[in-house]
Amino acid sequence: MNINRLSLKEIYVLAIVVIFLLLIIYAIFSQQQTGLQRVGGLYLKKLGANPNIRNYVYGIYGMYRFYDTLFELLIFSTAVLGITIFSDLEESRESSSSELIESHVVDASASFLYPIIFLLGLYLAYSAHLGPGGGFAGGVIAGTGVLLLAIAIGADRIGQLFYEQFMKKVEYLILLLVLAIVLCSAVLPIDIYTGNRGTAVIIIANLSMGAKVFIGSWTILHFFVKHRGEI
């Protein structure tokens, strides 16, 4: 796409995108005249009564709008499932070595740093109701920490250290656990999120979400490490 010679098709596309943008910008400005509402006021009031949950954003996506989180977990599982099925059908490259980088400095520093990153991911996952973080960020950070370990010792040995076969079978049980918690809170007449029992339920839900995302993200990374450079 050269600036000096724009073909007819490119001018056409540019014109349509510019019109679309102008429409949206006009919509924003006209909305301002009637006043942009703060839409989360209702949730702030409801969550003010529950002293267990201090992070209002977690209160929304972890309690009142849990369907969103549930289906987000399902979409993530579908992506991981697609990659698992594809990796069973393909053989890896002939000349791929199991070490990503061969250097002593990287080996030593990676073996030292990976527990810190893993711990950070774990902390972010279980303290979702007290501060920023949440299960998704925590799980992904833990998966990245394991990738750092894979740089140091080779991606194939991670399977033995982390009981990979066992965890793959357990992955869908975690989803059932999360579904059970949702079912309890929807069906039982009592509110399970208040009081001391509430904190325990919240922490179990957080950790199971974090564990599921961690297993899924390590699966994806392992696949891309095995088939690196194939594009």
Binding site: G133, V140, T144, F224
Partner: protein, 280 residues
């Protein structure tokens, strides 16, 4: 403060769309996500900032870089033959290296050279990663392998060396060499060898009465003949050949670009200068 980051977003988005090399664009996308995460922090959304930082900056960049690690390279497979393509104290030099380096700069790629032996060449041709075959290559060297031959960059000759004192022994060549057009050889009395060193040791031990090879490999071989053999050996020219490059036939664009570059170099006289520097 926010305005500065927002304008930085605009600049980065524009920069991603102009890039030619994919790795540069991926790193710029990582910086884009990082700036976005910074804006989330300034506006009072720390949850979103942490999640965008973990997923958009770390994970997406890792996956792209792992998948694209082979992308910006031009793979060259060659034998080590001075003065065409050789290694000198760890640095690669040679006539063909300079030509291919110019091609890589033109296409904004990195040159990656792999030195192999003659017996490994057929398997490297069928591997998907090889893009150019170099190393004093000529059309008769590996005939009928599904390769496109480019324009020649140097003319040479096929030479034959014969020890006049040995009789009734076959003539040796390297495997796959096409000798059907050469009249002076009896086609049934040829023995094939896998490597130049095997050819040399067979000649020195008098198992063959002579061998045929192109002039570049012949000059390497001449250094290894024993002096008493050298007195009784006779070198004669058999036919003319052209040194070219070879590209697998599926890469039509690359063949066209390399031909274009070779034509350009011949027209402007740069090819002569490169050949002068190495061959004289």
């Amino acid at each position: 403060m926010i305005l500065f980051f927002l304008f930085l977003l605009l600049v980065l988005a524009g920069a991603v769309l102009i890039q030619k090399r994919l790795l540069n664009a991926v790193i710029l996308l990582g910086v884009f996500s990082l700036t976005s995460s910074m804006i989330y922090f300034l506006v009072g959304a720390p949850d979103v900032a942490v999640t965008e930082g973990a997923i958009g900056v770390a994970f997406v960049t890792f996956i792209y870089v792992l998948a694209l690690s082979d992308q910006g390279k031009l793979h060259v497979v060659t034998e080590e033959i001075p003065p065409f393509f050789y290694q000198d104290k760890g640095r690669i030099q040679g006539i063909e290296y300079e030509i291919l380096q110019q091609l890589a700069d033109q296409l904004s790629l990195d040159l990656e050279v792999e030195f192999v032996k003659h017996s490994d060449l057929p398997s490297q041709i069928s591997s998907r990663r090889t893009e150019i075959i170099a190393g004093a290559f000529y059309k008769e060297y590996l005939p009928a392998s599904g390769l496109n031959i480019t324009l020649p960059f140097h003319q040479a000759s096929l030479a034959k060396i014969v020890d006049t004192q040995i009789e009734n022994a076959p003539i040796g060549t390297l495997t796959d060499l096409d000798v059907t057009d050469i009249k002076e050889i009896d086609a049934e009395r040829i023995s094939r060898f896998n490597a130049l060193e095997d050819l040399m040791s067979a000649y020195n031990k008098e198992k063959i009465s002579g061998f045929i090879s192109d002039s570049a490999r012949m000059s390497i071989a001449l250094n290894q003949i024993t002096t008493q053999k050298r007195k009784t050996s006779e070198i004669s020219q058999v036919s003319d050949i052209n040194y070219t490059f070879a590209i697998p036939s599926s890469e039509v664009e690359l063949t066209d670009k390399l031909n274009e570059l070779l034509e350009n170099l011949t027209k402007t006289g740069q090819l002569e200068k490169i050949l002068d520097r190495y061959l004289r």
